[in-house]
Amino acid sequence: MLFEKLALYMQYPFVRYALIVGVLIALCSSLLGVTLVLKRFSFIGDGLSHVAFGAMAVATVAGLSNDMLIIMPITVLSAILLLKNGQNARIKGDAAIAMISVGALAFGYLLMNLFSTSSNVSGDVCSTLFGSTSILTLTKEEVALCIILSIVVLLIFILFYNKIFAVTFDENFAKATGVKADGYNLLIAVTIAVIIVLAMNLVGSLLISALIIFPSLSAMRIFKSFKSVTVCSALLSVFCAFFGIIISIVAGTPVGSTIVAMDAAVFAVCYIIGIIKY
């Protein structure tokens, strides 16, 4: 019965698209998540997603046909600024991020309210914040863009894996021995911004940081080397995204929050395993 229903859904291209995009975004965000969590930069994901929300409001108000043109550069720029600030003074960086993220949130909502052409403003806002059904209404071009960007992120991660490790574990040592640590930090920041913009479609801007930090935190409960944590985090994230989307389609729940609820449940399981094992 359930499987028949699933098989039926799978015949629709929008369900297949949602699964492809969801799994890819989950994969990319979990990879970089390990680094962000270990560098104590988890909050950057949160701040950036709010900035992306503000940018999206601006794009909507400006009436752009392709809002990526505004959201992507603004988010990337904020990522660079936040990371630079965060390095100079951690505490000041914390406050700066809190300021920017709530500021962008308020500004975005204000804009949407003042200039909205839609009759259902709160509905629009809610879907941008918590993820909409837009993952189920993806066009072929959006899916293609998402696949390409995901492949780029994956390649960057694999090619720079050892460097990302070196910079994450000990930035000072890396710098002293000639690794261009600032360059790699920049690369990490830009990549994370791209992932966040991509992930907005999937889980909405309030829930993105969950996609970034939950899988790596779960993996760290169980595994103890960088490689195994990274691989486990990627697998958990893909697992949660895949089944989260399936459940949400079958049960009719919101996609974003279902995925995040899966992630949280998996974290709880990993936490208990971690306690029993050690």
Partner: protein, 236 residues
């Protein structure tokens, strides 16, 4: 030409000098200990030597075949590292990143050299273990092996024995002395003035008085008298 020549160097944060008019030289094969009171700018000086901070004024010249990015570093441990998920092998191998350029993966030669460095530090049996499960002394050996992967010329050690018990501390000092005997130049920040006097060839004392010279010169100097007396007094 010396490995490192420091002339009239001022170091500090945000334009405020912590220490001024530092002059010293490091020759190949030296064992230099940097001593001085807390807050006298020892770590800041080391970071400036490594190029992590820019000098406020003065000059640092590198010579005798030493390049700026050929300096191995043993930093003080950060909170992040103590809980970092990483295997010993992953950490030791990361010492090669500085010389790897854009090459994404490690070569066979590098893997062999990493194994040799772990052997030299007596941690071959720990290769598959996880960093956060090791004792403080073992962790320091892992970081030393990593530094050796980065360079064989010079190591800068920032309080390598802090937090270690007396026995492990003594082993650590012997290990470092052994490296120095094998031709690795050592610059070490230390609180432990007795060990500094025992192992070092040269001493740089920074603080209200700046002194630089060989160990024997230092023992006769006024800087040493005041410092040794307070250290002894502090311990008793």
């Amino acid at each position: 030409m010396s490995y490192i020549t420091v002339k009239d160097l001022s170091v500090g944060y945000d334009g405020v000098a912590v220490e001024k008019n530092i002059n010293f030289t490091v020759e190949k094969g030296n064992y230099l200990c940097i001593v001085g009171e807390n807050g006298s700018g020892k770590t800041t000086l080391m970071k400036t030597l490594l190029g992590l901070r820019s000098p406020l004024s003065g000059q640092i010249e590198y010579g005798d075949g030493l390049k700026k990015n050929e300096m191995g570093y043993l930093p003080q441990q950060t909170v992040v590292q103590k809980d970092f998920p990483a295997s010993v092998k992953e950490i030791v191998m990361s010492g090669f990143e500085g010389s790897a350029g854009l090459r994404p993966f490690y070569t066979k030669a590098e893997k062999e050299e990493a194994a040799a460095n772990m052997e030299r530090m007596g941690i071959s049996d720990l290769a598959g273990r996880f960093y956060r499960e090791l004792s403080g002394g073992q962790q320091q050996r892992v970081l030393l092996a990593r530094a050796l992967c980065a360079t064989k010329k010079i190591l800068l050690l920032d309080e390598p024995v802090s937090g270690l018990d007396p026995l492990v501390t003594a082993q650590m000092y012997e290990l470092i002395a052994g490296l120095n005997k094998d031709g690795v130049t050592i610059i070490m920040i230390s609180h432990d003035i007795e060990a500094a006097v025992k192992y070092a060839s040269h001493i740089l004392h920074i603080g209200s008085d700046i002194f630089f010279g060989s160990k024997n010169e230092y023992l006769k100097s006024s800087a040493a008298k005041g410092f040794l007396a307070t250290e002894k007094g502090g311990e008793n």
